[in-house]
Amino acid sequence: MRIVVGEGSCGIAAGAGKVYDALQTAMNPSDSFELGITGCIGMCFLEPIVDIYEGGDLLARLVHVEAKDGARIAEAVRGGDLSSIEDLKIQEEDAGFLNKQTRIALRNCGIIDPTDLNSYKARDGYKALEKVLKTMTPEEVIEEIKTSGLAGRGGAGFPTWFKWNAARGSAGEEKYLICNADEGDPGAFMDRAVIESDPHNLIEGMLIAAYAIGAKEAIVYVRAEYPLAIIRLEEAIRQATEAGLIGENILGTGFSCKFRYMAGAGAFVCGEETALIESLEGKRGMPRLKPPFPAAAGYKLKPSNINNVETFANVAWIINNGGEAFAAMGTEGSKGTKVFALTGKVKRGGLVEIPMGQTLRHVIFDIGGGIRNEKKIKAVQMGGPSGGCIPENLLDTVIDYKALSATGAIMGSGGMVVMDENTCMVGMARFFLDFTSKESCGKCVHCRIGTKRMLEILTRIVSGKGEEGDIELLEELCNAIKDGALCGLGQTAPNPVLTTIRYFRDEYEAHIKEKKCPAKECVELLSYKIDPDTCKGCTLCARKCPVQAISGEVKNPHAIDQDICIKCGQCYTLCKFGAISVE
């Protein structure tokens, strides 16, 4: 038997490293079972996770494992009787989170050991590369990708074969293949999981693409905020080089390709492909004017092709199983599967890969288990700062590039943040504008100043100083920025504002006209009151109030002085009798 600990970033943050150490300590030299690691299983809400395998069969999945469980897990495995750890086993309804998925890009995540090349090879690893290099022409590879209907998974959904073909057709011997792993969209972690859990899959997909376009060098531009992904990628590049899968004369076919990575340094705009190229060249990540497109003049002004991590993660599967098998999944306009990072106020959060064409409701309720604490769902945010909020009544929208764009949101890279009735939508719009105004590179006026002005107006609205006409002013600014901004960051920055105005105009109006926050989230618009009939006079709130705004005698009703109150909400949280209300 084999014990495997899920060591992705989420698992480690939840304590997987300590669990691994405890298991190692509990093992005897005479034990016949092995201990190993895997990457992210994708069920972040159950971390740390420990799997027990017999050969290729999963015997048991243990969840929320703690270091103190190490000894009894080792004991159970040693004795071959897992009944003593029954309490740690995953609940059937939680297991459904994974069983309802169709995993292609994530097919090896949480199954293989990401630090071991042989573990990847055992699951058809590098077979697609061998097939491509030995039996296919670059044109045939591009044709297969065309058949599959694979589109860019970074957000825009541009057909992958078209970009490859354009780069292939560009004149010149020196070409570059680049992977955009600068996953800056707050609320998204699909790419991180792929690199941490299955780095060879990314390398294989990139090598196939490099062959297709005729590139002699492949580069991964990865976020510096993902230290574990960088370590695993570095190790995988070293292993692949040693195995003759990277470098000169790969697999004896005469095809040569160098491979390296560069760590980004923290700038959201570098997710834009021309800004990413500038950054690769060691400069400030400021977007270039297009055209020329990177396919004609990219990195070092040579023909370059840039795709997202998830796009590459599908390539080897498509070559092995055929483009038609991939195209058989999904909708008319959106083929294959898509990975989402499901987070926010949802019960079961984690990585979800499903065929295109399923509804948002299916993802959030059937897979994600609905909303925490039995609250009502208000909206789901897709596409991060470039996307929008889709309201509850549109949750039957299917996952499809066009259908999602029609709502005003976008497919995006896969961030899916669920919001409940306590999330203020104006506050949400302000949150995103705060982000984009900080991340604007400053090159064009519309984005640099436009986002700042929008942020000022939104800040004024959430602090109760909104004025009549602010909504119209916001809309005017949004349209001007969309039209005038140079790159995708600016052109899409108004989306969170436009969608919240479109679907939650009443919340904006409540803030502006009545100076009230319906979600009770905007601190400056709240007031706390003590109900004298329910208050027992226990004095707890008065003692804990940081500004001594609460007064009253023991066993007599207390009261809050609104002029002193800083609306920190401590009293509301502390009161054991539910005597404090918030408006």
């Binding site: 970033s9 989420c10 480690i12 943050a13 939840a14 972040c44 809400f45 971390e47 996953e183 800056g184 969209d185 707050p186 609320g187 998204a188 972690f189 991180r192 976020r223 510096a224 905020e225 993902y226 230290p227 560069m262 760590a263 980004g264 340094a265 923290g266 700038a267 959201f268 950054s279 060249e281 060691g282 400069k283 400030r284 990540g285 990072a341 499901l342 987070t343 926010g344 106020k345 959060g349 984690g350 945010q381 991060g384 961030g415 943040v417 669920v418 919001m419 999330t423 949400m428 949150f431 995103f432 982000f435 991340e439 590179c441 920190c568």
Partner: protein, 165 residues
């Protein structure tokens, strides 16, 4: 403060980095990252030195150093708190965590405590959204924070420092 010989060691390490990248300004970001690893931040003299060594201007190097959030022009505390302000963390109350830390350490975003122990830095997203709200202290990640839990973690680090002393 560091003695002279120690400073020389650091400069030697930086020279090795410059050699490894052929003193090429195209690798400026990587060079600055390594320089920051060596020095803990990017002092003015390092900006000038890297510019001279890569054949570019101090203004260009400074432009890059100030563009990216990873680079620091000031020294940081022993423990760097990176508080995630991503979407999922925002929805799950990262503002309350920030208020608690600010209140406890009496520093705001970007500042360092007087004893040089903690620096607070808000970051865009750490990618551990399912465990939100999240913060990282140096290389360690902590999830599902509450204001109380965040303070207790900081106290653990403070005690760690005292134990070492």
């Amino acid at each position: 403060m560091c003695k002279n010989d120690c400073k020389d060691e650091k400069m030697k390490a930086l020279d090795l980095v410059l050699d490894a990248h052929d003193h090429d300004s195209g690798s400026l970001i990587t060079i600055l990252q390594k320089a920051q690893d060596i020095h803990g931040y990017l002092p003015a003299e390092i900006i000038y030195y890297v510019a001279a060594q890569t054949g570019t201007t101090p203004a260009k190097v400074m432009g890059v150093a100030t563009f990216y959030t990873q680079f620091r022009l000031e020294p940081v505390g022993k423990y760097l708190i990176m508080l995630c302000k991503g979407t999922a963390c925002h929805v799950n109350g990262s503002d309350r965590i920030e208020a608690a830390i600010t209140n406890e350490l009496e520093i705001t975003n970007g500042q360092t405590t007087k004893d040089g122990l903690f620096t607070l830095k808000n970051v865009a997203c750490l990618g551990c959204c399912s465990l939100s709200p999240v913060m990282m202290v140096n290389e360690e990640t902590f999830g599902t924070l509450t204001p109380e839990k965040a303070i207790s973690i900081l106290n653990d680090f403070r005690n760690r420092k005292e134990e070492e002393a």
